[in-house]
């Protein structure tokens, strides 16, 4: 994978929404107060637009939000941003550290820059969009989440993936989909190598339709579903094969 460049995304300042939103400056307020305030929002609250300033690599920004609000994070975040998200739409105007969107339930997270390792790990639902590259173990143990990466992904991505869709517009690193159960992996570029029990599969009309829908939702314009290859489980590891007993 090429070196990851985030500066363009970090510089991007989209303040259109900021007039109406409630601003939380992490240079002035502690992170716990931000997360507690977001957790305390009652269903139907009118405070539906939030903006977080100066995250400066903080961990756990906007974890566990369970209301349908929008959160714009202006800068780069550290570990676990948006973890367990259940319904909010989070945009990181920068890059994200390890575990962005870990165990997301629903809603969406968009990272304008790059994401570090295990983006979307164990995610159960919702849409995670990485507009730059994601590093190793993207979508590890995914359980229903949809992940769209505009750039490349690193090695061991979708390891033991169980369900959901991983879409990669660029290339995938070594051992893609190792020990995969049932997730669908769509890669447009080169796959360095496939992991154990992961194979290339036929792209049928229903896959093209599903993929086109994901590309549209992820803002991947100018890219056609037909340019991708599909990978998934050969299902040979579902049950223990007695002929392999000597290997243990």
């Amino acid at each position: 994978m090429p070196a990851i460049n985030v500066s363009k995304a970090t510089r991007e300042q989209d303040h259109e929404q900021s007039r109406a939103s409630r601003v939380f400056d992490l240079a002035e307020m502690p992170l716990r107060e931000l997360n507690q305030t977001l957790h305390d929002l009652a269903p139907g609250s009118n405070e539906t637009a939030w903006e977080v300033l100066h995250p400066k690599g903080s961990h756990s920004v906007a974890v566990g939000v369970d209301q349908p609000i929008t959160i714009d994070v202006r800068g780069s975040v550290g570990y676990y941003c948006g973890g367990m998200n259940d319904g909010s739409a989070i945009t990181v105007h920068g890059s994200a550290g390890p575990g962005v969107g870990e165990n997301m339930m629903s809603g969406s997270i968009t990272v304008k820059g790059d994401a570090s390792q295990y983006a979307g790990a164990t995610g159960r639902g919702g849409l995670l969009v990485i507009e730059g590259n994601a590093s190793s173990r993207c979508g590890i143990s995914m359980k229903g989440i949809d992940i769209v990466v505009h750039g490349n992904i690193g090695h061991m991505s979708a390891f033991m993936a169980q369900s959901g869709n991983l879409v990669v517009l660029g290339d995938a690193g070594d051992a893609l989909g190792d020990s995969i159960y049932e997730a669908r992996l769509f890669v447009r570029g080169k796959v360095e190598s496939l992991g154990a029990d992961c194979i290339a599969k036929e792209m049928r009309p229903e896959h093209l339709e599903l993929l086109q829908g994901l590309l549209d939702r992820a803002g991947a314009t100018g890219v056609k579903a037909a340019e991708f290859k599909r990978y998934g489980s050969a299902r040979t590891l579902y049950n223990f094969n007695i002929d392999n007993a000597d290997a243990y």
């Binding site: 994978m1 070196a3 990851i4 460049n5 985030v6 500066s7 970090t10 510089r11 400066k56 690599g57 903080s58 780069s76 550290g78 570990y79 890059s95 550290g97 390890p98 790059d114 570090s116 390792q117 590093s135 190793s136 690193g154 090695h155």
Partner: protein
């Protein structure tokens, strides 16, 4: 866990701020390693001078009159600057081995942190900020430096178990991770004549690189060798007299972020460590690839 940082300056005008920049980077990673902290700073070369950084658990006793006793023993004046539990002994390069042996003979309890033409190494048990304050790291100047905040896993929380580890002149290394074949590699290096101060896995990595470079490899080639000869988890940041290198094992579990501008190359375990650097918003920021060697030299 552990936190590691490194800063290699390209712009000479930043050299007076090296200590303060590196201190901020180190303190920002306190919660990755609150057990102990350490820093190696490469000062500007000052001609015909070499230094040894020494450490003592009872500095009032061990450092008292040491300069006079050393000068008498080797027949040349020796300068000693004491900083808390550490002291920097300055002499001429040709006397460096003799001074080192004489210190160990005169004061058996003194520990050698490192030696070379330009490097100074300070490490102690305690929170990173306390260590930075104790040695007044913020006021130090230099061309490059590396630092470490430690959450111990492989050996005891002691001064000697803290990083950086230095096993060759002006060479030192900080490590996030744990090695699994360090006992074997240590035995091989001992057979080669390398000396070890601790049971620590990281010291083996440092000694491995020193051995490779003593065999004529450059920093990049030596780092390349770690990928086949060392087994375990590692992100290493390494300093040499004029160089700075980074390598991660092929699994690359241990986090790493780098930033480069016209003025510097910086390494941090996390992006948090880089946020106070000048021009960081416009820097090229990237995650170093697994099993890929990065190095820069002045």
């Amino acid at each position: 866990m552990c936190g590691i940082v490194g800063l290699f300056l390209k712009d000479k005008s930043l050299e007076p701020q090296l200590g303060s920049m590196l201190s901020e980077m180190l303190i920002s990673l306190s919660d990755r390693g609150p057990d102990s902290a350490g820093i190696a700073i490469y000062g500007a070369p000052s001609g015909n001078e070499a230094k040894i950084t020494i450490q003592s658990g009872k500095p009032e006793h061990d450092f008292r009159n040491l300069d006079a006793e050393l000068a008498r023993a080797i027949g040349t004046p020796v300068n000693i600057a004491v900083k808390s539990t550490h002291a920097v002994v300055r002499t001429t390069p040709d006397k460096i081995d003799e001074v080192r042996e004489t210190i160990q003979a005169l004061r058996p309890d003194i520990r050698i942190m490192g030696a070379g033409d330009v490097v100074e190494i300070y490490k102690e048990v305690g929170l990173p900020e306390a260590v930075v304050d104790r040695f007044d790291v913020r006021s130090m100047t230099g061309t490059h430096g590396i630092g470490h905040t430690r959450m111990a896993t492989e050996s005891a929380v002691t001064t000697m178990g803290a990083h950086p580890f230095s096993t060759g002149a002006d060479q030192c290394l900080v490590h996030n991770g744990s090695l699994s074949n360090h006992n074997n590699v240590r035995r091989e290096l001992i057979r080669e004549g390398m000396k070890f101060e601790t049971e620590n896995d990281t010291e083996v990595a440092a000694a491995y690189l020193s051995s490779q470079m003593a065999h004529g490899k450059n920093l990049g080639e030596a780092l390349e060798g770690t990928l086949s000869d060392l087994d375990g988890f590692f992100t290493f940041v390494v300093g040499t007299k004029n160089g700075f290198g980074v390598v991660r094992d092929p699994i690359a579990c241990k986090p790493a972020v780098m930033a480069e501008t016209d003025q510097y190359v910086a390494f941090g375990s996390e992006y948090r460590a880089l946020t106070k650097l000048p021009g960081i918003d416009n820097a090229r920021v990237w995650e170093p690839e697994p099993a890929t060697v990065y190095f820069w030299e002045h």
